[in-house]
Amino acid sequence: MTERFDLDASFAALADPTRRAILARLALGEATVTELAKPFEMTQPAISQHLKVLEQAGLIVQRIDGPKRPRRLAKAGMEAMDQWLAMLRKGLEKNYERLDEVLAAMESHPKGKK
């Protein structure tokens, strides 16, 4: 149950392009809020809000370093992204398995051509 809930939070967190960009940045290594805010045309409070969502979803973690709170990617962050893509992959595969059957049927009952 908890797992399911966390998964939902992860997907909601991933639904925002800024948050995914933050995750992509953190995949390169730890970064402070100032560093994270730099590439975006956003205020630090706005970035902090995104970080909060990511934290609550368990995708990133923070470390206390004096006045700084550098963030880094949690293992769950990578896993959630992988899972998200795996779900999409699964659905498409289902479609294409059906398409395989449609194609096989077409071959045994060619319509005119060839």
Partner: protein, 157 residues
């Protein structure tokens, strides 16, 4: 039973998803299965339990697309779109949007079919204006094989 997944899926930047899949049929057949509504209706169904009672696909530039899916318990929804370019047996470009019931922003899709051995390599490149669309698309369960948790995602968005 072997479940060989020959599908690859990767994200490209923030708003692209590129999917490739091999089919054991020539490009002519795969292209036809993507442009003949009677054939589309048989496979473009997403997760188990969905059917497509309405399938309009006018395979010409400017032609309309309208798919309506229904599920005995989960209700129904539709997708509309327009075909932009068709190069017989090798390329289809179209735009589409889901109606949930409000329309999602347009998803621009390019689908290519290339000979690959005795079969076909399909490459589908989806261009979404923003990631919410991607998430909404997943939430419908149409493309994603999504379960209840994804339906909930839709309400979050």
């Amino acid at each position: 039973m072997t479940t060989m997944t020959r599908l690859t899926l990767k994200t490209e930047g923030d708003t692209h998803i590129v999917v490739t899949r091999h089919f054991a049929a020539p490009p002519e057949a795969v292209y036809r299965a993507h442009t003949d509504p009677n054939l589309i209706q048989k496979w473009l169904l997403g997760p188990e339990g969905w059917t497509m009672p309405v399938c309009i696909h006018e395979a010409r530039p400017g032609g309309k697309i309208r798919y309506q899916w229904t599920h005995p318990k989960k209700g129904s929804f539709q997708l509309t779109g327009e075909l932009l370019e068709l190069t017989p047996y090798s390329r289809i470009v179209h735009v589409e949007r889901m109606h949930l019931p409000d329309p999602t922003p347009d998803n621009h899709v390019e689908t290519r079919f290339e000979p690959d051995g005795a079969g076909t390599l399909m490459t589908m490149r989806m261009t979404l204006p923003d990631s919410n669309t991607r998430a909404a698309m997943l939430a419908t369960g149409m493309e994603g094989g999504m379960e209840a948790s994804y339906a909930r995602l839709e309400t979050i968005l």
